[in-house]
């Protein structure tokens, strides 16, 4: 271990919440928005920054925006825990921030197109001192005192009323909330801690229908995709495949989609990333129709988990 930036040698798996429900007031829990993004621990020492992801990967070069952190934290060394998010239509979008996560380091145009925000919620280390054992509320006070404001770096607010926060988050179509026990220590993962609870809201999004898959010549599911460039300058109209969905569709609905697809079919797949299965056949369509899909969460491969069609966005089939 070198004396210089020895803090950067540390590897910490961030603390994970367990699934839970909103707890009553007075139970010693406080509430924060659950940001839908990429978990990042930010290490600072000697004016330099080192970024580490949930799986301990070094992500320093992917997010140069966070190099400003040493100027914002009052302390000669620190470790922050937070979520890196990007917005789409004013809301955090995991799909959008993943464009940055998958990009080559140093893509300046992408940095401008997809700015990221670091939503800080915990302080694990400050001025050469570990704070993991500190009661959460005390640690929060220290974080509040240590971090100054910046356009792209924000402190996550804490609320006393979990029900009100959950309702607010639901109205704003965000992922959910986290309840944190106010006197708890910080216990690194990956084991889910009982001190932290996550309460998730069923998420929805609008996806393009890019094709239909058939099994034994019968339509069985719709293939969904999103346009990757949310700035609208993507003129190729190509879609990133985010999963197939059959839940929420009756046989009758699938027949209607099939008939529509026959009139609108395209020789070429609209997807940039799609692994065809030999047990299915496919009919491609130009991505013009959108559907509303609910889903529980994104998989690490950026596919929808438990997708379900709720409605057709524009008109009917």
């Amino acid at each position: 271990m070198t004396a210089r930036n020895s803090l950067f040698q540390q590897k910490i798996v961030p603390m994970e919440p367990q699934p839970g429900k909103v707890l009553q007031e007075g139970s010693g829990f406080l509430y924060q928005v659950k940001w839908d993004g990429i978990r990042i621990l930010a290490f600072g020492e000697g004016g330099a920054v080192h970024l580490q992801g949930r799986s301990l990967k070094n992500k320093t070069n992917l997010y140069p925006e966070l190099a400003v952190l040493p100027e914002l934290v009052r302390g000669k060394s620190f470790i922050l825990d937070g979520e890196l998010i990007a917005l789409d239509e004013g809301r955090p979008s995991f799909f959008t921030v993943m464009q940055r996560e998958r990009a080559l380091p140093g893509s300046i145009s992408l940095m401008k197109k997809v700015p990221v925000y670091y939503m800080v919620f915990d302080l694990l280390y400050l001025d050469d001192k570990w704070l993991l054992e500190y009661p959460w509320k005390k640690q929060q006070k220290m974080l509040l005192d240590a971090l100054s404001k910046h356009e792209q770096i924000h402190l996550t607010s804490t609320y006393e009323d979990g029900e009100i926060l959950l309702e607010t988050v639901r109205k704003n179509k965000m992922e959910g909330i986290v309840a944190k026990k106010e006197d708890s220590p910080y216990i690194p993962g990956p084991r889910k801690s009982t001190y932290w609870h996550k309460i998730k809201i069923i998420q929805t999004l609008e996806a393009y229908v890019g094709g239909i898959s058939f099994k034994n010549k019968k339509p069985v599911s719709l293939l969904l995709g999103l346009k990757e460039d949310n700035t609208g300058s993507n003129t190729t109209g190509k879609l990133r495949y985010i999963g197939s969905v059959s839940s929420g569709l009756k046989e009758k609905d699938l027949e209607k989609w099939h008939n529509w697809a026959l009139d609108n079919n395209s020789i070429f797949s609209p997807f940039t990333s799609f692994a065809a299965s030999s047990r299915r056949s496919y009919l491609w369509v130009n991505p013009v129709k959108k559907v509303n899909v609910s889903f529980s969460e994104w998989t690490p491969e950026l596919k929808l988990r438990a997708p379900r069609i709720t409605t057709v966005s524009h008109g009917t089939i």
Partner: protein, 282 residues
């Protein structure tokens, strides 16, 4: 201004020592190629694909590709020999009228300034050309190439414009899609001529400028001063601050609603928690 050539202008028996200066300059903005992630200017290296090595100047010769991939090599001496033992001379051949030369022949323009003892004959030639209204057709060797050129007066000085040789001006016969055997209608011609007369104006080049360069320059200026420049109009950047403020406001509103409901409730009578919700709805 820096002279780019020194020699003499020969006019009959008179030799006038002169220096040559470029009369025009390109103002196109030059961009350098940078490596996008680090903004380092790219270097250009001369590399030999066969020897797989960078080539120093001493190992570079000139070759003429007389057929694909076949070269004859000419040394600098041989090339210079072909240029001849030319004196550095602008040799006036004929005096002609400028109208006789089509502008398509003109290539590059230079100013001539007298050098050393050349002042008096320089003035003499200038005056004589001004009074006769004639210009001089000359041959000139700049560097290795011998060119046709005209020497004439421009403002208070003598100027030299190099010219293309007749075989360097391409024939118009090869131009496609020219109408053949079509007659112009008299009435239309009258109208077109009227239009020309209406648009006739004195030549005022100051009216025109390179607006593309102006735009690029102001863009660069703004960037240098640290202002954000966007090429295409783009939608306003979404800000996370807006989201945070919206969340705060929304939470506060809900809290107030609840407090109000609870107060109302207290005024009546203490009641179990469940009924609070109904009271809030009123």
């Amino acid at each position: 201004m820096r002279a780019m050539w020194k020699g003499s202008l020969s006019f009959g028996l008179v030799n006038i020592p002169v220096r040559l200066f470029a009369a025009t300059e390109k103002k196109d903005l030059k961009f350098r190629y940078l490596h996008a992630p680090c903004h380092t200017p790219l270097e250009y290296r001369k590399v030999c694909g066969t020897c797989n090595t960078e080539v120093p100047w001493e190992e570079i010769v000139r070759g003429y590709e007389y057929e694909k991939n076949h070269f004859v090599v000419l040394s600098d001496e041989e090339i210079n020999a072909a240029a001849g033992e030319k004196e550095r001379l602008i040799e006036i051949q004929d005096f002609i009228k400028i109208e006789e030369i089509d502008p398509i022949f003109f290539q590059n323009s230079y100013y001539l300034a007298p050098d050393g003892p050349g002042g008096r004959p320089y003035l003499l030639l200038r005056e004589a050309m001004l009074e006769t209204g004639k210009i001089a057709l000359a041959t000139v060797t700049l560097r290795t190439k011998e060119s046709m050129a005209v020497v004439r007066t421009y403002k208070d000085v003598l100027s030299l414009s190099t010219m293309f040789y007749p075989d360097e001006v391409r024939s118009v016969r090869d131009l496609p899609d020219l109408p053949k055997g079509v007659k112009v209608r008299e009435k239309e011609l009258v109208m077109a001529k009227e239009l020309i007369e209406n648009l006739a104006a004195p030549f005022e080049p100051e009216k025109y400028q390179d607006s593309y360069r102006e735009k690029l320059l102001s863009m660069i200026q703004a960037k240098v001063e640290g202002k954000e420049v966007s090429v295409a109009p783009s939608p306003e950047r979404e800000k996370v601050v807006d989201l945070l403020e919206a969340l705060q406001a929304s939470v506060k509103k809900s809290q107030k609603k609840r407090e109000k409901a609870e107060k109302k409730d207290d005024n009546r009578k203490p009641s179990p928690r469940k009924e609070k919700a109904t009271a809030a709805k009123k």
